[in-house]
């Protein structure tokens, strides 16, 4: 019974994977492909956020800081030293981790709202500093050169398809890391920190150390997404890479999809982007905020009625179906006896 269920899941997963791999050849035009890339980008950031915010329960509303650090580090290394974005991406992740450890060390003492607001404050301060830092382009931002195209330079100007596979690869990497964490002892530790911090401490788990492990993985992976953004847009500024609205959006996809579930943020990204793009396409042209109103109402409805997101709804559905089956079988037995 369990096995057959697991098999069904595996088949669905493989089918999904084949579908995403073939997607660039299924979509009709460049704007649809771009739409798919946007979904994968925010999904990747959401999955990375989920390691800290979902599994370990440390709600960050400042993840755009890591995203921006990734974008700015690789871009500046490319502009000043001509460093390959592949190495720049790793360097960006490294800088983000250092930054994360520096803020995590003092801030992990804070609980709940206090921690969330501290992350907003830190990301806002970083944004203000970068906005006024001429060496980093200030408020104007930085443009990337289109000197070396192709996989070496990570700039693709003919077709956007390579960008799709690149961000898909990053998303699978991020999902893979999350999956490994979820299945290892770290997953149990993180959940213990989230749900029963006092009990976790009493059995000898060093809370701060494991929160630092969570923020290390989370910030590194988020920064990789930032570098991807820079390589795709070929232009970065503080408003687009480190704004609080981006931090909120990263957390929002995880919440819509289901906090602390592996695939939840991906589902959340699909839904959020669909809502955003549809409302914008239908009402955005009016310039009167109709798209914002609908978007806001949907967020409120989900937050109020489905606090566990799509993943929670799915679990409920699955549970109900199983119960239904079991009841069916039970009543069937009664009949035969």
């Amino acid at each position: 019974m369990r096995d057959e269920h697991a098999w069904a899941k595996r088949i669905v997963l493989v089918a999904l994977l084949v579908l995403v791999l073939a997607l660039p050849y299924l979509v009709g035009n460049a704007s649809q492909l771009n739409y798919a890339i946007l979904v994968l980008m925010i999904a990747q950031a959401g999955v990375a956020w989920n390691i800290l915010g979902g599994y370990a329960g440390q709600v960050s509303l400042g993840h755009a800081a890591f995203y921006g650090i990734g974008a700015y580090t690789s871009t500046q290394l490319l502009l000043v030293f001509g460093l390959s974005p592949w190495l720049g991406m790793l360097a960006g992740g490294g800088v983000a981790v250092l930054f994360a450890l520096a803020i995590g060390w003092p801030c992990f003492r804070l609980k709940g709202h206090y921690f969330a607001m501290a992350t907003i404050a830190i990301a806002e301060i970083l944004q203000i500093v970068v906005t006024n830092w001429d060496w980093l382009g200030g408020a104007v931002g930085l443009s990337l050169p289109v000197a070396e195209t192709g996989w070496r330079g990570l700039v693709f100007n003919k077709s956007k398809v390579p960008y799709y596979y690149l961000i898909l690869g990053l998303l699978l990497l991020t999902l893979g890391v999350s999956w490994l964490i979820e299945r290892s002892f770290l997953g149990y530790y993180f959940r213990a920190i989230k749900d029963e911090p006092d009990a976790a401490r009493s059995v000898g788990i060093d809370l701060t150390r494991y929160k630092l492990v969570a923020i290390t993985a989370s910030s590194f992976l988020t920064a990789l997404g930032g570098t991807f953004y820079a390589q795709k847009e070929l232009f970065i500024d503080p408003g687009s890479t480190m704004a609080t609205s981006l931090s909120i959006k990263i957390a929002l996809v995880a919440i819509l999809g289901g906090v602390g579930s592996l695939g939840g943020p991906v589902a959340g990204a699909v839904i959020l982007t669909a809502i955003e793009e549809t409302t914008r396409a239908m009402f955005g042209g009016t310039g009167r905020g109709t798209d914002l109103i609908i978007y806001a109402l949907l967020i409120i409805l989900v937050a109020v009625f489905y606090p566990s997101g799509v993943a929670g709804w799915w679990r409920d559905l699955e549970h109900r179906l199983l119960l239904f089956k079991r009841r069916d079988r039970a009543s069937g037995k009664r009949k035969t006896s």
């Binding site: 978007y295 806001a296 109402l297 967020i299 009625f305």
Partner: protein, 290 residues
């Protein structure tokens, strides 16, 4: 007196004046937080709605924001308690994340509605009864700023008096201290929560009305105040009205002094740094319960 001292004094006092407004905004926020442990991200939008109420009273019926102020307060009180009953009541026991995103959704909703109804333009109230400047001992202040600061003191005082000296206020304080015990004592906790949201929204609305005579009015105006209100609430101690009052003044001074010394672009960064210093070194704030 020499000129640079005058400038410094002028700067400090203007910091106090704006700080009193921050205090009033924070009083509303800290009340909601203190009573039910929910951070209201849409608090700046209450302020924005208070500004628009003043604007339309002035534009449609030529009523001065100072005269419509009591009605603005009542309207926002009604809106705040209505929001509690329709939305917030359902998420009291929800995870913190759902709470954050519910009030965040309200923030976007009100901004969207303001854009929809009143367009994204900047608007100003030009001929209020409070205008012009007042000279005092070699210093100069705008009358609107002085009146706004005085109004903020009065309203903060009224809220403080209400909490300290009335039975209803005592019931609200009791609910903040321990909901379950309060309920056992026969206090209608739901009513207290709605009251906290009403008063909280009214405080922000009054602050908006007071600002409307000298601050541009537009749908996103709340964004300028929400982060500062968070800092003020943390500095004063979450849930402490008296703390929010003094913290507002400190935040106002830090802001203008920072602008004076480092340049206006770092004002907000300094205020946010103040938040970090406070929550890390003295998490209970200046006057908060430990």
């Amino acid at each position: 007196m020499n000129a640079s001292f005058d400038i410094l004094l002028q700067t400090l006092l203007s910091g106090v004046l704006i700080g009193l407004i921050y205090a009033l905004v924070a009083v509303g926020l800290t009340m909601i937080f203190g009573v039910m442990d929910i951070v209201n991200f849409a608090h700046g939008e209450f302020l924005m709605l208070g500004m628009y109420a003043s604007f339309w009273g002035f534009a449609l019926w030529a009523l001065d924001p100072m005269f419509t102020l009591p009605f603005t307060a009542l309207m926002l009180f009604g809106l705040g308690s209505a929001i509690y009953h329709v939305v917030i009541r359902r998420i009291i026991r929800a995870p913190m994340l759902s709470q954050i995103f519910t009030t965040f959704g309200l923030l976007i909703l009100f901004r969207g509605l303001a854009q929809f109804l009143w367009k994204p333009d900047f608007r100003t109230i030009d001929h209020s009864i409070v205008q012009g400047k007042v000279a005092f001992a070699g210093l100069q202040f705008g009358l609107p700023q002085l009146v706004a600061a005085a109004g903020a003191i009065v309203v903060t005082g009224i809220v403080w008096w209400f909490l300290q000296r009335t039975r209803l206020g005592a019931a609200l304080e009791a609910t903040a201290a321990d909901k379950d015990a309060a309920a056992l004592m026969g206090i209608d906790v739901q009513r207290m929560f709605a009251l906290a949201w009403g008063i909280g929204a009214a405080c922000a609305g009054v602050a908006g009305a007071l600002l409307s005579t000298f601050f541009p009015i537009f749908p996103e105006v709340g964004a300028n105040f929400i982060l500062i209100a968070f800092v003020t609430v943390a500095l004063g101690g979450f849930g402490s009205v008296a703390g929010a009052f003094w913290a507002g003044i400190i935040v106002g001074i830090v802001e203008v002094l920072g602008g004076f010394l480092l340049g206006p672009q770092y004002k907000l960064a300094l205020v946010l740094a103040l938040y970090l210093i406070v929550v890390l070194l003295r998490p209970q704030g200046l006057l908060g319960r430990a």
